[in-house]
Symmetry: C3
Subunit: 432 residues, 3 copies
């Protein structure tokens, strides 16, 4: 069989993050590799994988996922039908599993759909307790008769939401259907499935009750991070840890990391290769990439930190800091509003409630933050931007900008008569 | 006998603090309860107490001091004579002890005045070494012949200053005198006492040399705090304290508190119920209320912290922070002037020298301070006010305000050619 | 013999530092005393030293170097020839060693030149690997035939650079030559030497390959500091160090110092007499003077700190902080540029590349820095200046100034409806 990974799309709502969502590294491995590992555990091999890429990511994907897999380029991100048709020559009429690698779920999802017998197609569905704005399956006699996209709350035909992990026994048949479908309109794949169901093809469901997140908005990275962190077991590589440093609970520390005195890493937490955790640093509930420096007296709490990030006396809470960023001493991310309401973020001119009352900043690659700067909750910073020292950042910053506050100063003569009371104060200190 | 607590007054000079002074909680108990406890130790009972309240505090007092005590409302804060007259029906002609519960003194003061034999009235007096602007007793043949209010320095008739802990053997007689006194003028009570002395009633003195502070200005809370802290014995409730945390000297830690790694609490210090002391926090010479969070890398030094206050990477020194306040990461209280002079505070248009060269801020209930803000020495912040991120607060702030600095910023293209030297710098770090 | 120390000059390029370079205290002793100690180890005595002073430093030098030495005042800093002529009466025709005490080198340099036999004069020369803008020796038949000042790169007559440690066997002869030389022009001493060589006097060279730095610019103090620190052996005076504090590697801690919990001092480092190292402080690669307070949660990294400096929650990196300075809580020195280029400093209108990509600030005596202020890389602060709270200092500040940012603020009513979620958040915290 073939696993068709849909890697050609572009996540506009992920701004300021420019990387593909499936390229996010969690506990040391890109999301796409987590998918591949799950599938390999079930017996699939590199040559079974077909990646529908875009021109910008094909090389990196090939490098990461191996030469034996198949790669095709989808020139424009035109959707699932186009993706499948683009990959047609690599499918050889085999059984195919179409996967959206931006979704995160447990390996049992793969296991259950792959072992499912019978039917022409099988769809993975998440059983939901409460309304979720997805595609709901219409079930009759244990078969799927249709998918209704975002029904109004209370109007759901079932509690089963479509996850893009779709098994089609006969890829030739799927391709034929797709080719016949009117492609000028949207949702070609969805309409094709509908057509196939109407034509009496046997669509079956595999229910799945485990963790599932479709990464749609940048803050979903934090949910996904939590999922991965909550599943790790303690594994501290053979590194020298000073007696005064404490590694508490489920923590992974990769090889080459260096931990300094009085640092505390409270699990769940992941520390990437060759990273440095400085004196008095506190890390909890966070994923730290490779070659990071979490410097002196820095707290990183419930944050995703990419590779090669440097911090020094900072508070980074509930934030997503992509690779290559640096924070000067005393710079902090504010992570809650004075009114303690949820933080909202404007996406394509619509204010979206993140559902989070604790959210720091979302910073794309290679940004630099000056000393004593403050970034307000939910602010997004575009890649390669710089924030000057002592700046309070209240609004989003585009990529490749330099933002600094208008530093108007007053200069006067120093006319103070200074009593130097240090001696006296020193005595108070020495007394304790 | 009856103990008449004067609780009807309003402390204007305590701005921005709105609470009654005797309601300040010290080492876990309101001042008024400290008074009551002292008296109960000497055999007095709840039904012996009479509280002259005001409409705003009667309910809270009743709740705190018990249903068996007597409560009356003094409609307007018209002084001691009015207070005594208001309570007249509850005194039943018994011996009465009139107490100003805003004064703080040792229990021996009560003990000594209660065991004093003879006389018609007894007045507690503090023996002073140096001039203090109070009421001085005129003594002849071991009897008090008058009280002179604020004589000029060098003109004091004795070294005995009147403390409002006054015993009158016959309350009926006192009431009769008070009722006969012209009440349109000020100082009715004082003039009544004068009249009684002139009429030959026998006023005796009980000298007291222990600690005494009349809370007049907000910074006196710090003196009173020191007094209480200096008398505590070490008592750490059965809580789990990490090995790396240190509790040094006379420290009380109440039940439910949680202490994190590398925290240091250096006595004298009091930590209230259910409070959290975060990693690397340092607390010394301070009173921390209930349910506080002294978060990561925060120092609280010689400060009074009310209930439900939250801190995170702050320095709070020589400050009074009332209940329900929050400080964002990196916000600090400055606590000394560049010229190292004493800090002065304007009260009713008069600049008062606090006598302190170390004084931080005085913050009323439920304020919020943004990240990286700075509050200058002696600044008073009214209740329910908010200080925006990165603001330097140089002046007093009224209640219910939102203060933030005018954040003018400059936005440019980032034209820097950035040499990424992280690899090289990392090697330097790893070398040590 | 006589050792003639040239102490009359004024180091203009050392701005903002006003002290004589040879008066810098390193590992507890002024540079000039390090010179004297080296010479005393070789058998020289106090009466062998002659100091050419200026009116401002003669008293301090006398106090420091002893009454038995000779002192003369050079009225104006007119150069080496004038210095030698000024001291003429104290030389008694003896052999003299002329030393510029602003140069730092190993004691072997003294040893080698003093044991050198023969010749009329001997010059110490540093063998250089690469171009250095100094005076190069012209060598013929093992004798010095001339000195060429700052030849163009590639045009050096040898790889031997003149260090001002010059031995003249006959000081009378030197004086005669100096007196005869035309003194209206510059470089009288250099021209005199040239004349002497041309007259056939025998100038010999002593090659020296050890450490040598001519302190020319303020940041050279950091090089000199490194040199001294790298040579120290661990020596911790008998002070009580809490178990949780760590002293790692080659560290000197002088008597009377006090170390608090969780402090880390990582060698090489020097802590002066009676200094206080506060809780959680980190000191590495630094020289801390006497009576300093490195307060709570402060990092001092690769910095020179003079006597009587006070810090509290600061980051001081790659900086030179002269005596008597204070930093408020949260004030930091930024020590690298966003573009990671070397830091340049303008000296006499010429931008000089310091050669350092890490350089903090250079601060003269008795400055005070307000809370949460930020000082940009390479900024120089003149003596007795004050920086207000929350100021970002991007340019040099003259002495005796008061710099503060124009604090424009907005005051609004607080209209936020505040949900107090502390209880809920507290539960999350307590869960860990």
């Amino acid at each position: 069989m073939k696993i068709l990974f849909l890697c050609g799309g572009i996540g506009k709502r992920m701004y300021p993050i420019e990387e593909d969502k499936f390229m996010f590294k969690l506990i040391g491995k890109e999301l796409i590799l987590h998918h591949i590992d799950h599938l390999k555990e079930l017996g699939l091999k590199e040559e079974d994988f077909v990646f529908v890429c875009n021109p910008a990511n094909i090389e990196r994907l090939r490098e990461l996922c191996g030469e034996d897999a198949g790669y095709v380029i989808q020139k424009r991100p035109k959707g699932m039908a186009d993706a499948a048709l683009t990959a047609k020559d690599l499918l050889h009429g085999e059984e195919i599993l179409i996967v959206n690698p931006n979704d995160v779920f447990e390996s049992s999802a793969y296991k259950n759909i792959l072992k499912k017998k019978g039917g022409d197609s099988v769809i993975l569905a998440h059983k939901v307790d409460k309304y979720f704005p997805g595609g709901y399956l219409v079930i009759e006699d244990e078969k799927i008769k249709g998918i209704i996209e975002k029904p109004r709350e209370g109007k759901e035909p079932s509690n089963l939401v479509n996850i893009v992990v779709h098994l089609h026994r006969d890829s030739n048949n799927l391709i034929r259907y797709l080719e016949r479908m009117e492609s000028e309109q949207d949702d070609v794949y969805e309409r094709t499935m509908d057509r196939m169901m109407k034509d009496g093809l046997d669509f079956r469901v595999v229910e799945y009750n485990g963790f599932w997140t479709a990464i749609k908005y940048p803050w979903h990275i934090l949910n996904v991070m939590e999922y991965f962190l909550n599943r790790i077991n303690r594994h501290v590589n053979e590194i020298k840890i000073p007696e005064s440093a404490k590694i508490v609970g489920n923590v992974i520390i990769e090889a080459g990391a260096k931990i300094f005195e009085n640092a505390v890493i409270r699990g769940p937490a992941y520390i990437g290769k060759d990273s440095v955790i400085g004196n008095n640093a506190l890390i909890r509930g966070s994923n730290i990439g490779d070659r990071c420096v979490i410097g002196y007296s820095t707290e990183v709490k419930h944050a995703y930190i990419g590779d090669d990030c440097w911090f020094h006396t900072n508070y980074i809470g509930d934030s997503i800091i992509c690779a290559g960023c640096s924070f000067g001493s005393g710079a902090v991310t504010a992570n809650w509003r004075f009114d303690e309401e949820n933080i909202s973020i404007k996406i394509e001119d619509v204010k979206i409630d993140t559902g989070l009352d604790k959210l720091g900043c979302i910073m794309a690659n290679n940004c630099k933050v000056g000393v004593n700067s403050s970034i307000m909750p939910g602010v997004r910073i575009g890649a390669n931007s710089i924030i000057g020292a002592g700046t309070v950042v209240t609004r989003d910053l585009e990529p490749n900008k330099f933002l600094f506050f208008k530093n108007e100063q007053m200069l006067e003569e120093n006319r103070l008569e200074i009593k130097d009371k240090k001696k006296e104060r020193m005595e108070r200190i020495k007394r304790g």
